[in-house]
Each structure stands twice: as C-alpha cells, then as structure tokens.
C-alpha cells in the first residue's frame, strides 16, 4: 500500500519534471487542443504530451510528384482542422500545381488560401520566414529543395513567437541534413479499398511515417481520408525503436 502510493508520487514527480523540461524546450501545450479533431488520435500519442504540436515546424520528405500530392493532402487534412474557425493559410511553391477547388474536399475553403508562386530559392525561404512571423495566419505551407540547419532554426524561432504552424515540403530528399524542425514525416500512397469490393477507386489512403520527432516516439500509421476526417485503418501502430539521432 505504502509502496504503491510512493510509486504514484514518483511517477507524478517524473511527469512534472518532464513537463518542465518540455516547457524549457519551448514545447507549448496548444490552447485549443480540441481543434485538431480530424481523427489523428493515434498519431498524437507519438508526440510529447499526446498533443499534435501546433506552433512548430514540420518537414515532409517527397521524392516524386505523386508523393507531393499525397503529402499535400495530408497537410490539407491537418490544416483544415484549425482553419475551420476562420483562419488563413499561405501556400508557397516554385511550381504551383495545387488545384484550388480540390482543397474543398479536404475541408479547406480555397478562398482562404493565399498562393505565392516563386522560382528563386532564396526568395522562397525569405517569404516563408516572413509568413511564419505573422500571427494573423493559421498555417504556412512551403515547398523548397534545400533547408539548412540555420534556416530551419530561424523558422523555429519565428513560430515560437507567433505560434503559426509551418509545414515545409522538401522535394530533394537526396541530401537530408539535420534540421531544427519538430517532426520529420514521409507520406506515401496506399492502395485504396472500395466498399464491398465494388469496382472503382475508393477513399484515398496514406502511409504516414513519422521519421523523427523531438521528445516523442517515431512510428508508422495507415490512414484513410473520408467524410472530412482521417480514419485509422489498422489500429496497431508500428513503433520504430528510437534509432535516429536527436533532431537539431
């Protein structure tokens, strides 16, 4: 009996310490955590505090244009959650191929997205940083080839002040360097399954890999996007043992 209560206090103390460490590492507990209600519950558990980190930088690795399409849909799905009560997003890319009406099927009002088309890599990074500093925005989505450690740290410092969520899509995964981003993802297509084996294409499915996460557990999940939210296909998440080095 005594030992059990002692255990309890011990674990309490440890959680308290953990939380303190998180706050020192500038992990903010989001104010509107209920906002992210798009069925991301299993993924949330991989993050410290079981909360999807808003107000931080997420980077996505893409190899082909198909990957970019899958990544964009995943980002759009997440972003739709915090754009529901009237947020605005900025989408920066060198070759803009986003079809605005299609964003509607991911729950985003396309008229609330501002697209910026730029060729020059330097200008893209400048625009992303300026946008991340602006607290009137909900999300900033930027597509770029190179992201150095210094640039990513600048981004991270910018969002810590403004609590904007940044999504950086990296289209050149051949030279992957260490960055200061909170999480590194890879999104791939999965074959769809139509209901009752009817012919035709089913709801889009994704294989989500969380490659690196600061203070969390990386993992892999399979999600399906249907009726405005993600559904977990197999509830058993494959947790990869922490083999990666610490990010940043």
């Amino acid at each position: 009996m005594l030992s059990k209560s002692l255990m309890n206090t011990k674990s309490n103390i440890i959680t308290q310490f953990k939380n303190e460490i998180f706050s020192l590492q500038r992990f903010k507990t989001p104010l509107h955590s209920a906002v992210l209600d798009v069925g991301l519950q299993p993924i949330k558990n991989a993050f410290p505090g079981a909360e999807f980190p808003l107000g931080s930088i997420h980077e996505f690795l893409c190899e082909t244009i198909e990957d970019v399409a899958a990544t964009n849909s995943f980002i759009a799905g997440i972003t739709s959650a915090f754009m529901r009560n009237g947020g605005v997003a900025i989408w920066i890319s060198p070759t803009r191929t986003i079809f605005p009406p299609a964003l509607k099927s991911f729950g985003i009002s396309p008229e609330k997205v501002i697209f910026i088309d730029l060729q020059n890599e330097k200008e893209i990074l400048w625009v992303i940083e300026e946008a991340l500093k602006c607290d009137g925005l909900s999300a900033v989505i930027g597509e770029t080839c190179h992201l150095s450690l210094i640039t990513s740290r600048r981004f991270q410092l910018a969002v810590e002040k403004s609590s904007v969520t940044g999504f950086i899509i990296r289209t050149n995964p051949n030279n992957i360097n260490a960055t200061a981003c909170t999480a590194r993802w890879r999104v791939k297509h999965l074959k769809t399954v139509s209901e009752n084996h009817l012919p035709g294409v089913g709801f889009p499915r994704f294989n989500i890999e969380l490659l690196k996460v600061r203070n969390g557990k990386p993992g892999t999940w399979q999600l399906e996007w249907a009726a405005g939210k993600f559904t977990h296909i197999s509830n058993v998440a494959v947790v990869i043992p922490q083999q990666q080095k610490k990010v940043g």
Binding site: A69, V88, P100, P101, E111, F115, G136, L137, K191, V201
Partner: protein, 501 residues
C-alpha cells in the same frame, strides 16, 4: 490672396546643353541647324555666335559669310521640350508648382515660397545662380502676374527683376508690345501704328482696342496687368497629401535618408490619422543635387496610417536609392487615400480572417519585395472546364459569388498544361489498362469514369475531354483524359492532367 510668379527665360537652352556635354565648346561660336526646303536653317545660336550677329532663322550660308570657322551641329528634334521638362522637375525644389511655357521658358508659382530663402531678391538670385552653375544662362523675373514676370524677364533693360507687389503696371509702361506675348502680325500692326511702348496704348479704351486687335490682345493685356487671372498647368499635379523636407546639407547616407523618411511618414500619418484616413499607395521622391530624381513607390492592400508598417515597406526598397552627390529635398506623396476607421483592439489574439491587419501588412511587404503578380487568391467560377473553374480574386475582401463544387472527384495537383501520354485502352469507352508517363509504365488496377467535360463553345472551340480517375499498382492515383472520340484514324490523344491524393 496675392500671388507671385517667376518666369525663367533660358536664353540659349539647347546650345547651353551642347556646351555642358562638351565643355570645349564654351569658347567657340557654334550654331544648331536643321534642313528646311533644301537649305540649312539655323535653329539655335550660342552666346558668342549671337554677339557676332548670327540669329536663329538665318540661312547657314549667310552665317558662314560672317564667321567662316563657325561650328555647326545638327539640331536634335524634341531636345528643347525634353530639357525643359527635366529643368521643370529640377525646379520643384524651389516650389511645388512648376509649369512649362514653351518654347524656352518655365513659369513657377512661388506664392509663399521666397521667405524660406530670405526674401524675393535672394530667392531669385539663388535660382539664377544655381542654373548658371549647372551651365544655363537665364534671365528670371518675379511679379504678381505671369504676363508681367514674362515681360520683365525678357525685355527689362534695368537691373531690377523683382517687381514689388502691385507694381506691375509701372514696370510694363516702358516695355515694347512684344512683351505682351502677342501674335506676330498684331505686333507688326502696333509698330506700324507707332505704338512702340505699352504706355502708348494703355489709355486707349478697351472696346476700340478689341475691335482693332481682337479679343486675344485684351486678354493678354489684362493678364499682364493682373485684371484677369491666368491659370498654369503644373507638370506634376500637386497631391493633397504631400509632405516636403528640404535639407540644408545634401544627404548621402542611408541613415540620413531613413531619418528623412521617418519624419515625413510621421507627418503624413499624423494627418491621415486625424482625418480617419489611410493610404493605399504612396511614393517617396529624393531630389538629388545633380538634378536626378530617385524614387520608391509602394502600395498597400488595405488603407493604413501605421508609421512602422509603412516604413518597413519603404525600407525593403531603400537600397535602390543612389544618393550620389547628395539629396537636397525629400518629398512624400500619398496618391491614393481611403477612409480608414480604427478597429477596436482585441484582448485575446486569435488566428484572424482575411481582414486581419497583420495579414494585409505581411502581404504588403511581400508585394514590395517580390511583386504583386506572384501572389494569388482564387474564387470559384461557374465553369465545368477544370482550368476555368476558378478565377483570381481582385482583392483580399472579395466575397464568393458562387459555391465551390465538389460533387465529382478532383485532383489536388493539377498540371497547368495537360501532358501527352501513351495509353493502351480497350475500345470504345473502357478506362485504360496501362499508360506510360515520363518513361515509366503504370499498370492500372482500378478506375472510375469516364466523366465527359464538353468544351464551352461560347468561349473556345475544340474537342471534348473524357476523364478517368485511375489507380496504378503502387496505389498512386491519376487523372487522365482522352481528347475527342475514338475513331479509326487515331485522331484522339490521351493526356495526363492531374495527381490525386
């Protein structure tokens, strides 16, 4: 209110410009000529040539008879107008109202300006001396009316070029009738009649003068005497929201320019704030000592009178200003001004909507740096043709006029130009079995379609498209279409148009 005007007469406008370009010409007599009816006619002479008795309008051969070693250059058509305009711009440092009076003079409305230079006399000498330093020999006069200033600048024989308030009649009395800017035949007739000075016909009643010399004559006379008001057209219309900052010493450093900009912005924004207005576009002009004007223009997405924000917008382009020898005048103008009532401050900051102040300020900064053509926002348009189903929004505030359509699946990535692919497909209307795109073979496992989208004949002629939503063996999903009907002559073509999520 009593007005004051300065008329500047450039005695040798074009030839002075040639001398400026080539200082060796300063001690040589030379003329500018233009061909006319097979002869070379002199159009402009410099001071030395004029002293020898050569005048504009003379035939070149006659002038050569006077000075055999006369230098001759080709006249540049339109040069005088261009020079006058540049000089008028340069003169804005003395007064905001400068107008061109062709062919060779400028008119400055200097009402309330001269006291800044310490009086009429010093003001006028300052202008003439500055022009002399640049290399133009001029005569300038100041009077209450344009006509009087013009007349005194050209025909005054005494050294008195500043006509006191209300003294224009006395100044004009002894001048010849040419001083009234009359037509040539009127002048000739006046001389024939023995009216060689203005005082000779001032006493003649107006009705008999009008009968003999026409209404234009009376208008000129009244204009010079100040009975009738003359209106001038300034080269740049004066903006109602405009601030000037003249400098005692020429400014050459960036810090100096920043201080000037800050001061001007504070002045103009203070005024805008009091009047509950905000500016939409503004320009910052720097007048350099050497006569060039450097400028920056900015535009905002929503009316603003926020000094810090506007300063940031200008700051992005500030490095494009080259002070060179120094800047002596800064001017800030707000060309477009709109009503702007301050919004109530919020205690809790939430992610805002499109009307958010911070967002429009961000977009202003981006527009200044990367240009407006790169920033887009889209609204739905009522078309089925995919490329036309959305249109760019005109402003941040523009509202939806129709709903976004999502009944049919649409790809998130759409190629701006559909790209041709090689396809194997069972005829007539089955989805393709495999396709080759960029050298890679995709085997199709699942497919939806076709969805036919017809050309909108009132906009564009061409074949219809049959769209298929297909998934390959890797699980990647594409949007393919066939242009036109199946036919034996293979006139149809397959394209890939998009990538589904």
């Amino acid at each position: 209110m009593c007005k004051r005007f300065v008329s500047i007469w450039f005695k040798h406008l074009t030839t002075d410009w040639f001398t400026r370009r080539n200082p060796a010409l300063a001690n040589l007599p030379f003329v500018l000529t233009a061909p006319s009816h097979g002869r070379m006619i002199i159009v402009a002479v410099n001071y030395l040539a004029q002293k020898k008795g050569i005048y504009a309008g003379m035939v070149l051969a006659d002038a050569r008879a006077i000075i055999p070693s006369l230098n001759v250059f080709d006249d540049k058509p339109g040069l005088a107008d261009k020079l006058l305009f540049r000089l008028a711009e340069w003169c804005i440092r003395f007064t905001p109202f400068v107008s061109i009076d062709p062919p060779v003079s400028l008119i400055l409305d200097v009402t309330g300006c001269s006291h800044l230079w310490g009086g009429d006399e010093t003001y006028l000498t300052h202008i003439v001396n500055r022009l002399k330093i640049i290399g133009y020999s001029t005569r300038a006069a100041m009077a209450d009316t344009i006509g009087a200033a013009w007349a005194v600048a050209r025909y005054n024989e005494s050294k008195k070029f500043v006509i006191e308030k209300g003294q224009q009649l006395e100044a004009l009395l002894h001048l010849p009738p040419e001083a009234l800017r009359l037509e040539l035949d009127t002048i000739e007739r006046l001389h024939k009649l023995g009216l060689r000075q203005i005082k000779d016909f001032l006493t003649i009643p107006a009705y008999s003068l009008r009968r003999r010399f026409g209404p234009e004559f009376i208008k000129r006379l009244n204009g010079a005497l100040g009975v009738e008001e003359e209106i001038i057209q300034p080269i740049y219309p004066v903006e109602s929201y405009r601030e000037r900052l003249p400098c005692f010493e020429p400014i050459v450093t960036r810090t100096g320019i920043e201080i000037a900009l800050q001061t001007l912005l504070e002045k103009i924004c203070g005024r805008l704030q009091r009047e509950e207005k905000g500016l939409r576009s503004a320009s910052f002009k720097c007048f350099r000592i050497d006569g060039k004007i450097e400028g920056i223009d900015i535009e905002t997405n929503s009316p603003s009178h926020n000094v810090a924000h506007l300063f940031k917008l200008f700051e992005i382009k500030l490095s494009s200003i080259q002070p060179d020898l120094g800047i002596e005048l800064f001017v800030l103008e707000a060309q477009n001004v709109e009503d702007h009532s301050p919004a109530q401050e919020k205690i809790w900051k939430e992610p805002g909507d499109l009307n958010d102040n911070h967002l429009s300020e961000l977009l202003d900064r981006l527009t200044v740096r990367i240009g407006a053509g790169r920033i887009h926002r889209y609204l739905p348009d009522e078309h089925y043709w995919p490329e036309r189903s959305f249109k760019p929004a005109m402003s941040l505030q523009e509202k939806l006029t129709t709903e976004w359509k999502i009944e049919r699946p649409r790809p998130l990535q759409l190629l701006s130009q559909p790209e041709p692919i090689e396809v194997t497909a069972p005829i007539p209307d089955y989805p393709p079995m495999l396709f080759r795109y960029k050298g890679k073979l995709h085997k199709i496992i699942k497919a939806d379609g076709p969805e036919r989208i017809e050309q909108e004949w009132w906009l564009q002629q061409g074949k219809h498209r049959d769209y298929y939503y297909v998934e390959d063996e890797d699980g990647c999903r594409y949007w393919l279409f066939r242009l036109g009907h199946y036919s034996t002559d293979k006139s149809y073509q397959w394209f890939i148009h998009g990538f589904f999520s």
